[in-house]
Symmetry: C2
Subunit: 536 residues, 2 copies
Amino acid sequence: MVDRVQAASAPANRSWWGWGSTDKALPDTECAALGALVPGAAAEPLPVPELRAVELPKSRVAPPPALAPLLSDAPADRAGHTYGKAYRDIVRALHGDLSPAPDQVAFPRTEQDITDVLDWAADAGVAVVPYGAGSSVVGGVEYRADRHRGVVSLDLSGLDRVLEIDRVSRAARIQAGALGPHLEAQLRPHGLTLRHFPQSFEFSTLGGWLATRAGGHYATLYTHVDDLVESMRVLTPVGVNESLRLPRSGAGPSPDRLFLGSEGTLGVITEAWMRLQDRPCHKASATVSFDSFPAAIDAVRAIAQSGLHPANCRLLDPGEAALAGVARGGESVLVLGLESAYAPVGDRLAELVTLACDHGGSPTREGSDAGADTAAGTWRSAFLRMPYLRDALARMSVISETFETACTWDRAGELYEAVRGRLGEVARRVAGAEAMINCRFTHVYPDGPAPYFTVIVPGRRGHEVAMWDEIKQASMDVLGDLGATVTHHHAVGRDHRPGYDRQRPEPFAHALRAAKQALDPAGILNPGVLIDPPAA
Amino acid sequence: MVDRVQAASAPANRSWWGWGSTDKALPDTECAALGALVPGAAAEPLPVPELRAVELPKSRVAPPPALAPLLSDAPADRAGHTYGKAYRDIVRALHGDLSPAPDQVAFPRTEQDITDVLDWAADAGVAVVPYGAGSSVVGGVEYRADRHRGVVSLDLSGLDRVLEIDRVSRAARIQAGALGPHLEAQLRPHGLTLRHFPQSFEFSTLGGWLATRAGGHYATLYTHVDDLVESMRVLTPVGVNESLRLPRSGAGPSPDRLFLGSEGTLGVITEAWMRLQDRPCHKASATVSFDSFPAAIDAVRAIAQSGLHPANCRLLDPGEAALAGVARGGESVLVLGLESAYAPVGDRLAELVTLACDHGGSPTREGSDAGADTAAGTWRSAFLRMPYLRDALARMSVISETFETACTWDRAGELYEAVRGRLGEVARRVAGAEAMINCRFTHVYPDGPAPYFTVIVPGRRGHEVAMWDEIKQASMDVLGDLGATVTHHHAVGRDHRPGYDRQRPEPFAHALRAAKQALDPAGILNPGVLIDPPAA
């Protein structure tokens, strides 16, 4: 019933300071050209420092002999595991600040290796930061506490295989360290796919997705990786937590739901049985433009409440549409997509377009099963390019902040206006300039959308982090004031702690602290994320 | 944006010993006629005892003066709150055994009333058993521990109103004590519906559904009430836990998911914002029969994996189909249904029927938007009548056990055979008779079904509970051996504890105990359900 799969890892050539692959970073001339589009940007790009010229703090932790083969304090390893990929991480790396570098980086190949590292760390009072591929944009993998003897970054990339496939139930047991493309490559020969495509897909892992409740490309239904989990295996300091493979259970609070979103604070996710799909052979997409953004919101709401479940339903506001090159005249653009492994989807796409037009939209162009729509394709390319552009802007000392949220439909319009108003004010105060503030709805639900905001404003070289922090705080304030979540799918990490602490019900905080104490009594797992230990 | 709704409660006339309304219980002659169909059943029905003739233990708890107006030790109140509605509850009541009766029944009208009861109970060492409408079939509302000074049943029926409606987001704030019909009646004038229809719909409450992760009538997608929750308000002994109204959040482990399925052990759910739907105006149903049950399983799997998302997809095995009167010649019957508030569903129904026929099915009859299919309608009537028939069988000393589970598709056929084999053996040993063992799939997922089993076997008068307990234990054993869940939607309560303790990962048990200790330090909330306190 179940097949065994063999696979080998093929990690990509990663940038130590910025997003993704080194060969896709923008060269200096393109950075300068991009900066020229932002009034107030620096004239010259910050140089990318040579790694050998960057000063790392001395490692405070010597590995015990038994673990020495797993641990590395090589500068390249420590530098590459110091930060995630938030704007403030990129800027600090560019300025040569690697002060929070881990003392050691562990590269386990087996679960026993992980257990050994956890046992040693608990005894030695060393913090352990689980690390998938380091794409966190919320400070999820950067140690900022000060009560441990040292810090080990636990890199899961050595556990990257699809171990079993159950074709009948369409599920696979997959190790947590598998990167998106490597995971899909192992499923492809079986005609199966996980189809979880976050923007970070190439540079993030299954375990990272699970630990942070990552959002994929599906705009409706299976929006988060949470919904694709059949069971999980988590190594906690007090033992292995393995749930049954079940399509659904009603037996008490869901064990998996405690670990989904636990962000490395309760245990190390080592593998999961994931629900798969047949590879879709029917696809269609269309774009619809709107003269009025409020009308576009109403259209998207009608679609979200229709039960038609589009796979893609991205609404770009006028600024976002213009930036992505899919609109010119100030209109909003809705990108719709459907996919199915079972039957053609053209009729359902036509229904969606009709619904959008009933609410004031004008069809731009429809794609059929034969190929993707031009505007949709243009937008997708821009989407994957965005983090590289963000890095280029960082080199021009332009501050870029993205944040995402969710709220109910009754507050969606108000939230859109409030965010733009408040962050515009803050940008003027902090940077003395007008910010570009764009928004797209990335996921939609019957009761509300998930808006994603981008804020771009010129910074002052050397002050980027402090300026970014003020903008970040303002974004959390305005979301909190309106009762919107501090994060829809980027996670909490350390950067979102103030907003999370405000949002989280206090009795639940008690319960979570108690659970943490029960599972991680030495308090070594990703300290500072989600919760703090009880005050001494 | 949000309307205020006024409503008044209208509780039904409930049976103190059996299911539902007293006027729907089968009269003696019909009980006897039903019993005559089961070889080995008693000749005469057990009489229904007069409530005034039943002996209740003396109440050990005197209410403090301040709470006296909320508390009752009237025999009818205590008797009606002694048990849920499991077979073993019905039989004990019929035999006049009300020994676990609560000492007091509290009828709060406000949250402050509940807080006052919790505060007093914690100080006094009195256990509190939250009580919705008492339809638990797993011992969820029956106190069985012995370490408290007494027991109060906390009846939430006084909090039964829809408090707010957000028409734009299609959501409503609803008090936890609202019974299904009363809740829907308050939504109907707004053209909205929750559409959560468990078999217990008439006699269960929103709070009970949430606390037990109840399953509704939807066979796919929104199968459990969990999926319809926008936010919850829970009174814990250490404070109010209220989550934000959000369509979705990725901020840490979900607070609501800790309380969903907590079965009254962590707090008292007082209200929730629930996701609603427009009332469906398009419906269609069809039935398909299969000569082979394995072929029928394959057909249902193909449907579950097709992405067509039928609202109803119930597969009845030959015994179940015959019992429901929708088949005669040993065939299996698949009942399919679709519903939509947006567009006609006939085309999608045709696709589903085609898919079923591709796997060996023969269409029996299709219903259109104009009306329900006859077989589907027949089965629905039988479905709602089943608990009354179960009570009639109990009066004839026929043992009836129902249990439900879920497993992945690769094990579905094996599970079906194993359950029938093992329980057949146990029935022969325990009752010396052949059991009738039927099965239906009530809910289906891309990776597996939720099978629901019914076991009927003649009992020996006066020994029904012990015989039932043996059958129950065997059912938990076989599910555990095959890695299936001990419950898909009936909850754990006290009756499923052995199976649940086996199924639940041990680190999660640590975490749950720690959370319980943090939220309910006095250990008064529904003791014995889900978890025990740490050994002293």
